[in-house]
Symmetry: C2
Subunit: 301 residues, 2 copies
């Protein structure tokens, strides 16, 4: 996977660029822990794939867009795992940042990763500085108010929420930002890529809900059944497992159909199909939930 | 104070720009609470004052620089007040964000304010986009790793820290960013303004330490004696009250002497003298600490 190597190199370089004498070593450690070793890196892969499909002409800027999106994703995971939210002890198959480094460094590592994301964009914009305002707007809309992933997380603090709005903000927004930033980093118009990113993000979230119910913690790298334990809205709770699987397939079909006409369209569609198989393996329909509570919730939905 | 009106208008506009249908209303409320009503707004006033001294030519970009610095400052206060850090119940004379809106919304409001700061910069860069990368670098260095205010807060999680390094990062870094960003927003070279900002930030931090010992909570708008309760490094603990007062006067003199040669130098020096009087009123030397513990710590230092 040459793209994965490229992403890891760019992420290492981004953290290296903000290392230096006088930094607090434990915060540096917590930030490294939050970013490495690799998660699936689906969002930065999306950035690279869209930039490639659009005729990438500034690899440093595309790398920076991919880095920014991934660092913001890592920051959101670190803060989602805090005791006041999920209180997650594990993430990506090992201790979460808050478990390994403590709550205070988890708060600060998330903050510093948000800053590092923007710093990476600014540092790489030398050749095409005119693309920078659009990239800042895209990334900020994907993360902040009113509809970004931070807003999505905040819906957990509201008395009422529509499941689709919640999941669109919590996941879809950063996927849309990834596809749009990929296009912008290559000098293309971002809007045609928004819908594709949103649908893919929705599909990814449904897949996550499904794996929360049927998955095992080892394969997922994080605890399962958390949606039910935390009384969080979830597609499997709303539609049942079979309904959620059908919704996932529908969204992936729509994503594939939404690829704009461009030189790299065929390769891009292949990536989407690969992701569909990876996220929800064929045959998952035969796996039933393992705990009576989960089964009840799913059957009753 | 026309500058204060201008800053309040710009801050309102920045939060208005990211308001919109579909936003989680409680997060929007927590963000408003974090930014309004006004604190001293010393950092954005610095941005405006330096830009003016440098021959400001793009008020929208200067406003955005001031907004970015102040939103990042507000974000840092919200996160510093979290239960895992200061666990502060009050701030600016009323309930802290974590007290009024809960810990989860305090985490998210801080995150969203960081994003909003960068978004404001990107939105305003249309006329002088070539100034944007430098502004992003300045702001990011003032906040993030290795020496920004988040790094400064992280020194509270290290077993050992030099007081000066801690205070330089915790406060001086964002003051330096304020002066440098003011210059950059006006198209000027930022470096001549760095030392001034750093010294002013150090002076401000020493003043804060002094007021933590001798002040009363009502005048400060936040609890006093927190440095001692939280066993935090502090200039009054290191030098004693009289030593800290002497250090404050020395730093303010150095700040005044560091004003670069520019058309607005005289007005700028007047602002610094005004701040010196506001931060540590003359006659404070006669006020002794109120609690036996604080008195002991100060005398023993």
């Amino acid at each position: 996977m040459p793209n994965l190597d490229r992403i890891e190199r760019a992420l290492h370089a981004a953290l290296q660029a903000i290392d230096g004498p006088g930094r607090p070593p434990r915060l540096a450690g917590a930030m490294q822990h939050a970013v490495f070793p690799s998660g699936a890196r689906i969002r930065p892969q999306l950035v690279l794939a869209v930039a490639h499909a659009c005729g990438e002409d500034d690899p440093a800027l595309t790398d920076a867009a991919a880095v920014a999106i991934e660092l913001l994703h890592c920051a959101s995971l670190v803060h989602d795992d805090l005791p006041c939210f999920d209180d997650a002890a594990t993430r990506r198959g090992r201790p979460s940042v808050q478990k390994a480094w403590g709550e205070r460094l988890a708060v600060l590592a998330g903050d510093a990763l948000i800053v590092a994301a923007y710093e990476a964009l600014g540092r790489a914009a030398g050749r095409h500085v005119s693309r920078l305002p659009g990239l800042l707007a895209t990334v900020s809309r994907g993360v902040g108010m009113p509809l970004g992933i931070v807003a999505g997380q905040a819906w957990e603090c509201e008395p009422q929420v529509t499941l689709r709005d919640y999941q669109q903000a919590k996941t879809g927004a950063l996927f849309a930002a990834a596809t749009m930033a990929g296009a912008q980093s290559a000098g293309s118009t971002p809007e045609p890529w928004r819908g594709l990113g949103e649908r893919l993000g929705q599909a990814y979230q449904v897949a996550d809900d499904i794996r929360d119910v049927v998955g095992d913690a080892q394969a997922l790298g994080k605890p399962v059944h958390r949606d039910i334990e935390l009384d969080r809205p979830s597609m499997t709770r709303e539609l049942g497992l079979d309904g959620a699987l059908a919704e996932f397939r529908r969204l992936m079909d729509e994503t594939e159909a939404a690829v704009p006409d461009c030189p790299g369209a065929a390769g891009f569609r292949a990536l989407i199909r690969h992701e569909a198989r990876r996220l929800v393996p064929t045959g998952l329909e035969d796996i039933r939930p393992r705990t009576p509570e989960a089964a009840w919730r799913v059957q009753a939905a």
